[in-house]
């Protein structure tokens, strides 16, 4: 305690600083990083019918362990159509939903940023509020809307747009709607905060210099909100790729998503090594977007200070 640093202040002892750093660090190492190592290890072991249903491969020395590791589960993933089809279809669904969320979310964020200043806190709260409400309930709400005798079909029949009910529930379209709906705040918020910081005089200058409104939008507004768009797209794309609740509740038997496959492999088939291998491959797919997302966040954070 008592020692003074070069400015004459009482400096925190190096011990205290180390403790401050060590506590959250150790927690995350133990409960975030090490679990991945466990998953990786189990993905390389054999299934066994005892509980836990896998053979540990780390018992008798390193050499023995290495000689017993096998990539059987990963080979299995490439042999069974189900898995790679699920990966491809998850990527496709996540990508399409991200684009749809951007298309729906950008105009809302833009309008919020252009709204009179005194409205903005209320608008912001209205966007955040659904995010605080249970995810499960928000997905569940769409079952009653999209089903054959649901509200959407009733409404469309009533205004005479269709003559017979559309089948939406239990198709990929329902999954798209579900993802756009539940992840919309994640898209709106970063774009809004980027647009909010945008200096309006830049657009005025462009318009004064003869840019049309649309051209000014493309040349100035979009590029200057780029970081917000990137952050929003990552925040939607990455979790959507491993989504489980939405495809299970709104999707049909034809909706293949890897999160659902993993969940079923684990809980219904109780095949832990294969479920672990599925998770490892999903993680490998996600590493690039996660690193890019983190890079973008850090750049943003540094730009703010």
């Amino acid at each position: 305690m008592g020692q003074l640093d070069k400015n004459g202040r009482r400096a925190a002892g190096p011990m205290k600083r180390a403790i401050l750093i060590a506590m959250p660090y150790t927690w995350l190492l133990a409960l975030f990083l090490i679990p991945f190592a466990v998953v990786f290890k189990i993905s390389l072991s054999d299934i066994e019918l005892s509980i836990p249903p896998y053979t540990p491969t780390m018992k008798d020395g390193l050499w023995n362990m290495l000689s017993r590791l096998d990539f059987e589960n990963f080979v299995f993933l490439t042999q069974d159509d189900l898995y790679w089809k699920a990966y491809v279809s998850s990527l496709r669904i996540a990508l399409i939903s991200t684009v749809l969320t951007l298309v729906v979310g950008y105009p809302i964020a833009y309008a919020m940023a252009r709204a009179p200043e005194q409205w903005r806190p209320t608008l912001l709260m209205l966007v955040i509020l659904p995010f605080w409400t249970s995810f499960l309930i928000r997905v569940y709400a769409w079952i009653g809307i999209l089903s054959n005798e649901g509200f959407l079909n009733k409404f469309l029949l009533w205004i005479g747009l269709i003559n017979e009910p559309l089948t939406i529930l239990n198709t990929n379209a329902a999954v798209f709607i579900g993802i756009v709906y539940t992840y919309l705040p994640f898209m709106i918020l970063p774009i809004y905060s980027a647009l909010d910081r945008l200096d309006g005089s830049l657009i005025e200058a462009a318009e004064d210099l003869g840019c049309s409104r649309i051209k000014a939008f493309w040349l100035i507004t979009i590029p200057l909100s780029r970081n917000g768009i990137i952050a929003g797209c990552f925040l939607v794309f990455i979790p959507a790729l491993g989504e489980f609740v939405i495809p299970s509740l709104l999707g049909g038997s034809g909706t293949l998503m890897i999160g659902k496959v993993l969940f079923e492999e684990f809980f219904s088939n109780r095949d832990w090594p294969v479920a672990s291998a599925v998770a490892v491959v999903l993680l490998l797919i996600l590493i690039i977007p996660i690193v890019l997302f983190q890079h973008n966040e850090q750049k943003q954070a540094e730009a703010d200070t």
Binding site: R9, R10, R114, F263, I290
Partner: protein, 272 residues
């Protein structure tokens, strides 16, 4: 003041209709007499009384609240420490890894987090129940807390803390007397965020809980899989009402606090 163009008005209207109508339908039809959830048969509150008589739901609600209070409180302490370390901690060994571990859980698919934690708990021989759910929830929600708190720490003026240190406060005193009161709103909203994330979580709880602990989302999940039910509509309405009241109250309180701070600042400015 900017004027809203027609396009902006249309997109705002569409956006909020899209966000709120599904929940509104849920709320309205929770008061429906009929068991058929899309046919209106008159006003009734019978689904609420049926829900309140359902012990399984009440037990699950109690487990959920217990888990949420515990995990969000631990997460707030750890997350605030992590934020302080990230913003004020300077360089230390493994800083990149540390910040990676803060940001990655924010976007990590829940199935992966849940599966990996379950396999860890089994490897350690921990009995799955309330404790393991608390550990799991603390881990991902501390990252959300730390992002919320660090954004506040970044914007506030470091010289205040330095002034306290110059005047002879120990670093701990400076944190308790100067920094903590300033970042308190962020710490509180971090706690609230952690609390709701824990209340809300289905996938990670499903992986990390055992037969002794069923949370409310797990209970909702098992009945929702069978289709729409008016009881779940009633439960949803109660949850939506609680969240709305909580969020509106919190935002009014923070608005008032901001006004008070502004008045104090003006008073201080007049005195100098």
């Amino acid at each position: 003041m900017t004027r809203l163009s027609l396009f902006n008005v249309v997109s705002l209207t569409f956006g909020f209709v899209f966000l709120y109508v599904p929940m509104l339908i849920l709320v309205i039809y929770s008061f429906n007499k009929s068991k058929l959830v899309t046919v209106w048969a008159g006003f009734s509150t019978k689904w609420y009384s049926e829900l309140l008589a359902n012990d399984a739901f009440l037990d699950a609600a109690w487990v959920t609240v217990k888990v949420a209070v515990l995990s969000s409180s631990i997460a707030t302490v750890l997350g605030t420490m992590a934020a302080y370390v990230l913003v004020r901690g300077g360089r230390f060994f493994g800083r990149t890894l540390f910040s990676g571990m803060i940001y990655a859980p924010l976007v990590m698919p829940e199935v992966i987090t849940g599966l990996s934690l379950l396999l860890l708990f089994i490897g350690m021989g921990l009995d799955r129940g309330v404790l393991t759910i608390v550990l799991a929830h603390t881990t991902f929600s501390m990252c959300f807390v730390s992002v919320v708190v660090s954004s506040r720490l970044m914007t506030f003026d470091n010289s205040l803390e330095e002034a306290a240190l110059d005047l002879g406060a120990s670093p701990l005193e400076a944190f308790r007397l100067v920094t903590l009161p300033i970042i308190a709103p962020a710490v509180i909203s971090g706690w609230l965020l952690a609390f709701t994330l824990s209340l809300d979580d289905l996938v990670i709880a499903a992986f990390t809980s055992g037969p002794s602990a069923t949370t409310l989302p797990m209970k909702i999940w098992s009945s929702v899989r069978l289709g729409v039910s008016p009881e779940i509509n009633a439960l949803s309405t109660i949850l939506i009402a609680m969240v709305t009241i909580g969020v509106v109250a919190a935002s009014l309180a923070s608005k008032q606090a901001a006004l008070r701070a502004k008045r104090d600042e003006q008073k201080a400015a007049r005195m100098t």
